[in-house]
Subunit: 354 residues, 2 copies
């Protein structure tokens, strides 16, 4: 289960405290993505040093490798990854709906072909709950029918309505698992979070929200709002301004692996010739290991000679950059200065036109 307390608001922007079995998450917050139970190239201790409070694990990938039974038998995702703070697992819905040509969608669920070994498998609301229960994260996401972001009204309606029907099945199966467990020696406190669908259509999103609230009478007041798969630095500020509490995105690590680092003044390609020989830090305002230790000229050199340390160090910086952006936004919401600060932050970030 979870608690969520609103600490302060400024307009639509909110600062809150989400309390999960493995500890608190001060919001707004960026959540790094640990696709395979690992934030690409980074150990749990590394991620911990970025100030990240919660990691996302991917149910689809962990189901295929090593399999949820292996993780359950090793003591759950936290023990497996050695990450001691909260974890959240997605439902696998986004991944299986992204497997173009590898899937068949019906009311029961989705048949898909593993990208690893080609075997056919079926993911249903019930199976998604069973897998996530075995993984043992603090938060399990409901299994939803994902439609493309720009889906037409009819397709978006179909996905939205099916997502509501599937939410009933998710709740049913999750309740059975929790009841069976409480008869045994351990009571786990995993909670499921519903997902609002409806694409970009306001009427559908409102119906999705109403339908979800009808099914969730016990939701705490000031329910946390998690915008899945977002985003870039500016997206965080825009989302926070609209009342979002939690974000996840692979852009921090993916950009990092490609040598793109985020800076307060935009972004920079670490391979760029301008960095050659530079003894300056990557981002003089940043307190991450990369920026407080290594000169720009060395970071560039790591990419030139293709040493994986470079990917790691830029990923670390980018994660810290987003985590710190959440921390700064929270401080400004608490101080009542969020609007002016975020406007100035965005102006400076876009000044170079990137």
């Amino acid at each position: 289960m979870f608690q969520f307390r609103l600490d302060a608001t400024q307009g639509a922007a909110r600062a809150g405290t989400l309390t999960l079995p493995h500890g608190p998450v001060k919001t707004p917050a960026f959540m790094p993505v640990g696709t395979h139970g690992v934030v690409r190239g980074l150990g749990a201790q590394d991620v911990s040093r970025t100030g990240a409070q919660i990691i996302l694990g991917n149910t689809y990938h962990l189901h295929l490798r090593p399999g949820e039974d292996v993780i359950r038998d090793m003591g759950g995702l936290n023990r497996f990854t050695t990450w001691s703070r909260p974890m959240l697992t997605d439902s696998g819905g986004f991944q299986v709906f992204s497997l173009e040509g590898l899937r068949r969608v019906g009311e029961d669920g989705v048949e898909f072909q593993s990208h690893v070994d080609g075997t056919y498998r079926t993911l249903t609301p019930e199976r998604a709950m069973e897998i996530q229960w075995a993984l043992g994260a603090d938060v399990a996401m409901a299994f939803d029918h994902v439609v493309p972001g720009q889906a037409p009204h009819e397709l978006a309606r179909e996905g939205m309505e099916r997502t509501l029907r599937w939410l009933d099945r998710c709740k049913g199966r999750h309740g059975e698992l929790a009841d069976a467990q409480s008869g045994g020696r351990t009571v786990r406190r995993q909670t499921i979070w519903p997902i609002i669908q409806g694409g970009t259509h306001d009427d559908l999103r409102r119906q999705s929200l109403e339908g979800t609230l009808e099914r969730e009478p016990a939701l705490p007041p000031g329910t946390p709002r998690y915008l899945m798969g977002v985003g870039f630095p500016a997206d965080l500020l825009e989302g926070i301004a609209r009342g979002i509490d939690l974000f996840d995105c692979v852009a921090a690590t993916r950009n990092g692996r490609h040598g793109t680092a985020w800076l307060p003044t935009g972004r920079i390609n670490v391979r760029g010739a301008a960095l050659k020989g530079s003894t300056e830090p990557l981002d003089a305002e940043c307190d991450c290991e990369t920026c407080t230790t290594y000169p720009r000229g060395y970071l560039r050199h790591l990419f030139v000679v293709e040493d994986m340390l470079g990917l790691r160090l830029i990923s670390l910086h980018n994660i810290r950059f987003l985590v710190r952006l959440g921390e700064q936004a929270r401080a400004h919401i608490l101080a009542g200065t969020f609007d002016g600060w975020s406007r100035e932050w965005l102006r400076r970030h876009y000044a170079r036109g990137t």
Copy 2:
């Protein structure tokens, strides 16, 4: 310059203290290889945590990228890499003599073709000294004519005699650089170490040693002995038993990247099915970050999903394994128990026939 003090001996095995401008090195000691100014995938802080006391940099690679001038202008190899302890650079000899088809050898030096951009370059004893002076490591190695390990007597003699002639030129140029420097504001204390050649021919190695000693009247008593490019765990113990003080080898990191971890009981392929789901540490006797943090089942998973964190963690363990082997050998030499301990260590390491 350097000092070397013998702390204890047991038979031919020696425990010593080598003092270099950036600090002491307790011997016998394993020196990790930082080919491009980085121990593959590891930052200076990571290497520091393995207990390594000195890192090797490759002159050939650093000359090509980023170039010795860039490193000099950034303040030298230590500033460039952020490694605060001693460094040693090889002369580039081994690399250019290994470039089959890309080189032309004469008395003046070696013309070779860059493996990076195809440009033709010449490395001479003088140039090797100039490059290493610019890199600014504590120890520069003399530029030697390297012959294959199994070279016949005639070729080994040619390489040995040329190495002695080149040593004169190395000393001459290194002295000029030091004199020019001492007229300026900084006096750097880099020293050059000669290299004994002669392949596997005892008579030639003896002549190489005698010729070297004639040219090095100021060598401290109990000169340190550095066996270049060695080795695997058992090679360290065999070398130490014969009086070697310092070792370097890429096997620790290369094996690590391929998923082979060294254990007291031999070695293990981390991808092996036997590790699946295991909550045991990789090496229960090891105090490295990998062994004290991550379960075997997670390490295997990292290799299965091809996350670079796995390469990093096994490299870290393998380096710590060799560094610790040096520490243990030193302790046993000081205690007078080296012979029995090393015999038992080798017996156990080879018990499984690997």
